[in-house]
């Protein structure tokens, strides 16, 4: 094995990032943001409505929640569908208790397969954001640009027609993007993307058609990671959500508004033995003064209005 000498050359070694999609800045150095009515923490709840096809190919990799056994993997297929049939309604009830409206990330396939579920979300004045076509259509570097462009267009067309909403937000399945995804999303009228996990506040990103924004949407404190992947208990999940809030809330006292995003998978958190963890965490968060439960678009618009022009 030999290493070519150009392995020791660093073309992007310079101030800032090693790409041009966004500028480098430290969260603590930015101008403090105040949320509407002087709120300190914007609570953003993002359940995902997912459909994993039984014959999924898992290309170029299997997304979290993919089929696992030999075909036909009825056990995982039906357990994922549990979220759309049962689990999501437990989440709806938990949120309604506090008047929280979610931004629901929807596979276009779910809107087509279960139109009444999408209507139930819209009737609750939830924001619908796009979560791609389905969990077996990942956006990745191996896709031809035209293929990906059609995937974006079809997904948004389906969800916009079904929801009657502009569908301004986008979460890629498995948070996977190609090098062109941001450009295609901007061209299709998407205002914010939830794939990047490098910040606790919105920030602008450069795309071919103009600016769009990254919204803070974490991967490591969601229900799937904590409960399924890490095998933590329900009480542990509740404690981590509460600890997350407490640190952000304390920080907001000196550094300005923060966003606390809670990413949920109804087939995980919507199980009878787990839902109380969410209920208790929401009670903790909503028990504080200065918490603004909002949708992604509302948070982004408030953040944009607070930026120096």
């Amino acid at each position: 094995m030999t290493i070519p000498d150009d392995y020791l050359q660093y073309a992007q070694r310079r101030y800032g990032m090693d790409h041009d999609r966004y500028d480098w800045s430290m969260l603590s150095d930015r101008k403090p943001v105040t949320w509407p009515n002087g709120a300190r923490v914007a609570l953003w709840v993002v359940p995902a409505l997912e459909w994993f096809p039984l014959d999924m190919q898992g290309k170029p990799f299997k997304p979290p929640g993919a089929m696992q056994t030999a075909y036909p993997d009825l056990r995982h297929y039906t357990l994922r569908d549990y979220g759309n049939r049962v689990g999501i309604f437990r989440i709806m009830q938990a949120l309604e208790r506090h008047g929280i409206r979610a931004s629901v990330a929807v596979n276009a396939a779910v809107a087509i397969r279960y139109p009444s579920l999408l209507k139930a979300c819209v009737a609750r004045h939830w924001e619908v954001i796009a979560n791609g076509q389905d969990m077996d259509n990942l956006h990745h570097g191996g896709l031809a640009r035209e293929t990906e462009k059609a995937l974006v267009a079809n997904t948004l067309q389906t969800l916009r027609a079904a929801s009657g909403q502009p569908v301004r937000g986008w979460l890629s399945p498995a948070k996977s993007e190609s090098a062109a995804t941001l450009d295609l999303l901007r061209e299709a009228g998407v205002d914010y993307v939830c794939d990047w996990v490098n910040d606790d506040m919105p920030y602008p990103m450069r795309a071919a058609g103009g600016t769009l924004h990254a919204m803070p949407h974490p991967v490591d404190i969601d229900d799937y990671t904590i409960l399924v992947q890490n095998h933590h208990t329900e009480d542990d999940f509740r404690d981590q959500l509460c600890d997350q809030f407490d640190v952000l809330y304390r920080e907001s006292q000196t550094q300005g508004g923060r966003v606390m995003a809670i990413s949920l998978h109804p087939w995980v958190i919507g199980q009878p033995y787990r839902i109380r963890a969410l209920e208790e965490a929401l009670a903790h968060v909503m028990g504080h003064a200065g918490v603004w439960a909002a949708t992604g678009s509302e948070i982004l618009d408030a953040w944009t209005a607070a930026q120096p022009s």
Binding site: M1, T2, D5, S176, E177, D199, D243
Partner: protein, 303 residues
Amino acid sequence: MRDPGLYDYLPYDQRPQIRWPGGARVAFWVAPNIEFYEIDPPRNPARAAWARPTPDVLNYSYRDYGNRAGFMRLFEAMRRCNMRGSVSLNVAVCEHHPEVISACADAGWEFYSHGTYNTRYLMGMTEAQERRVIQDSIDTIHKHTGQKLDGWLAPALTYTDNTLDLVAEMGLAYVCDLFHDDQPGPVKVKKGRLTSVPYSLEMNDVIVYNVNLVSPRRYADILKRQFDRLYAEGEHSGTVMCIPLHPYLVGQPYRMAAFEEALSYITGHEGVWLATGREIAQHFNDHSYDAFAAASQPVGEAP
């Protein structure tokens, strides 16, 4: 080779006594790894940088969280505990994020090298190539911080057979790459004098969070248990406890409070020397290195 031959055998109960400054029982140090992972680095034949196809937006941005958000949260918690850091530095961060470097430098933190980028690996390099990487670290840290480079933790824990010989020959004093002990010890190198300073994978937040998948409050418990035992044993001969950290992990809001509680517990004890890697290595070199070398037992040749 079957045995890297880096140290002789020295059983825990037959050692010269280590006396830390002020009669401290434990030399305690905290080593934040301040890293830069490139979004599209050249491929080392032995290892791909990312799990997913390029661009691996998820994993790239997860690491970037450390510099944008996590670092300052950790920095403030350490400041509240009067704890200086010993930065395990991908030296290209000096160019990419000088704000992070100056915050550490102004607080009196030490910088040691963790390679150039965490996406450039050493395995497969010729001796000349590896010398260039080490020299780059020496020069970059001196240029941006004024500090002499004394310590080494190989980038992404990647090595050649020459790595430790080269860092010793090029004037570094200590390495964090060996996990065989709870006290410093001599490293057998061809030229120069090199000390192994205990670093610990067990206490490392990457292992704790990404491999062992523990909860933040459990991590705090692990840290306290580790400290309690090393503190008790340190009554007889000084021990070392290191907490290696990564701001993208420990700096997440849901993990920060539990960590700070553990850090405050440790630094709140009497008889704990709040040190840097360089200070520990130097004290060991000046007072214990020769005695440890003399007491060491040669290792027999396995059949």
